[in-house]
């Protein structure tokens, strides 16, 4: 009997859906084993079709994207009820992803910026989206835009996490194969990624580190053989789970942390602060500050993908 599957996107860019398609011809094997009953980006199904299903009828649902609005949350909860196994697919569902950088702002400040302040905005009436409005006599309802972006597991119980922005297609295949073969690890595990940090699969040569200047990729051409961090680039590889195959690193771009932290690391970004500061060269306050001046926007650099899953989660209001 074929499995019943679903894929949904919350607040995300669609990249994860594309990553699923990027498994190329293997999608045929998947289609042989799974009936997709719900996949908004690819197939036309309605929420009501899902609502009409029995609880637990889905064998597997992949949820990508963060929880940014009430619709994301509503469908997350709906799918949680309808599926036996719920997988958080991609960085946004896993740790908040890029959308959760919005947590350093408020809903109000974002609306102000987007609907009135941007240089290209022409909105003399100051129109902003409303949850309820009447257009041509018809009532129109929009989901509520949240103040704080959440990870999937901050609103529903999640069985597995498949990290990455986006996840590497091969890792998706591996994860699906594990599902088909009934070889899933204990609930709550990360699937489709390794147990060590990226440095493990990074092919660059690593030495003892002492950093006395922070550089940016746009200002230098890094030595192709040597560890990027040692060359002064902020590489989040040391605090990021392996599994991506070091794709950025191999292109000479430092890791930005999309695969999230290892287990028991409570806060990926803050951990990086500790690690990086530990290996800075100077000992005098002034000299330390001079090195730190090289880090542009430290908080968002260290928490690029993991703000929603960090300890403090957002800017205080």
């Amino acid at each position: 009997m074929k499995l019943k599957g679903g894929i949904y996107w919350g607040s995300g860019c669609g990249g994860c859906d594309v990553a699923v398609l990027d498994i190329h011809e293997k999608i045929l094997d998947v289609a042989e084993k799974v009936d997709f009953l719900f996949w908004p980006i690819a197939l036309d199904f309605k929420y009501d079709d899902v609502r009409a299903m029995d609880d637990g009828e889905f064998d597997l649902v992949l949820y990508n994207g963060a929880i940014r609005n009430s619709e994301n949350e509503e469908i997350a909860k709906l799918l949680r009820r309808k599926t036996k196994t719920l997988v958080a697919l991609g960085a946004c569902a896993h740790i908040g992803g890029l959308p959760s950088l919005a947590n350093y702002h408020t809903k109000q400040s974002m609306f102000d910026r987007v609907y009135s302040e941007t240089e290209s905005t022409d909105n003399p009436d100051g129109t902003v989206p409303l949850e309820k409005s009447i257009v041509d006599g018809n009532g129109l309802e929009l989901p509520r835009f949240y103040n704080t972006v959440k990870t999937l597991d901050q609103v529903v119980d999640v069985d597995y996490y498949l990290p990455g922005c986006p996840p590497v297609p091969q890792q998706i295949v591996n994860a699906l194969t594990a599902v088909f073969n009934g070889e899933l690890p204990p609930k709550g595990s990360i699937i489709g990624a390794g147990t060590r940090t990226l440095c493990d699969e990074c092919p660059r040569e690593k030495e003892e580190k002492e950093i006395s200047e922070i550089k940016r990729p746009l200002n230098m051409i890094p030595d192709p053989e040597k560890c990027l961090l040692e060359q002064g680039l902020i590489c989040l590889g040391p605090v990021t789970r392996e599994g991506c195959g070091a794709r950025c690193i191999n292109s000479g771009v430092p890791c930005r942390g999309c695969y999230g932290p290892l287990e028991e690391v409570h806060d990926q970004g803050i951990r990086m602060i500790s690690a990086l500061a530990s290996v800075l060269g100077p000992k005098e306050e002034k000299e330390i500050d001079a090195v730190l001046d090289g880090i542009v926007d430290p908080l968002r650099t260290f928490h690029r993908f993991s703000t929603a899953a960090s300890i403090l989660r957002r800017k205080m209001i």
Binding site: D267, I270, D289
Partner: protein, 161 residues
């Protein structure tokens, strides 16, 4: 009731914790707001501890280690200093005043100094007022509610029926 700041101290075993003990032996009185966690070296103090303490309700965090050059483990305090300098840069982005996390060098002989710093810091935090990370988070999320929840509940009930 007046606001009584909650202050968490992370003190290195050899200098600062000993200095704090000395304040006790010398019966020097200071504000009761600080509660200390002893670690072997200020180099053990992770920024995560500090963030965690703030999250759990601390209004201020004091990190104290041996004076530069005096570290029992040679250079742990320099690591603490560097981590502190970097942490100071991100706190404002969280809306946390950097003054709430303070780094001091307190020697084993500086009981008086420990007391003075605690008093001064307590007053400084008192002036800044409560931090309230959890309260702020709750406040920020109080309207992040999915109004359809009831609807789903109903439809779920209907399905079961």
């Amino acid at each position: 009731m007046t606001f009584e700041p909650k202050i968490v101290g992370f003190l290195c075993n050899w200098c600062s914790y000993t200095g704090a003990d000395l304040a006790g032996t010398a019966r020097i009185k200071y504000a009761p707001n600080i509660r200390s966690v002893r670690v072997m070296c200020s180099g053990r103090i992770e920024p995560t501890f500090i963030i965690k303490a703030l999250f759990e309700g601390a209004d201020g965090v004091l990190i104290a280690g041996c004076h530069p050059g005096d570290c029992h483990y040679q250079e742990g305090n320099y690591k603490a200093l560097r981590r502190h300098r970097l942490l100071q840069r991100i706190l404002p982005e969280y809306g946390v005043e950097p003054e709430r996390v303070r780094l001091e060098w307190i020697a084993a002989s500086e009981g008086e100094r420990f007391a003075t710093i605690v008093n001064e810091f307590t007053e400084q935090i008192r002036e800044l007022g409560p931090l309230g990370v959890k309260e702020s988070l709750a406040e920020a999320m109080k309207d992040d509610i999915d109004h359809h929840e009831e609807h789903i509940e109903e439809s779920g009930a209907a399905n079961e029926a």
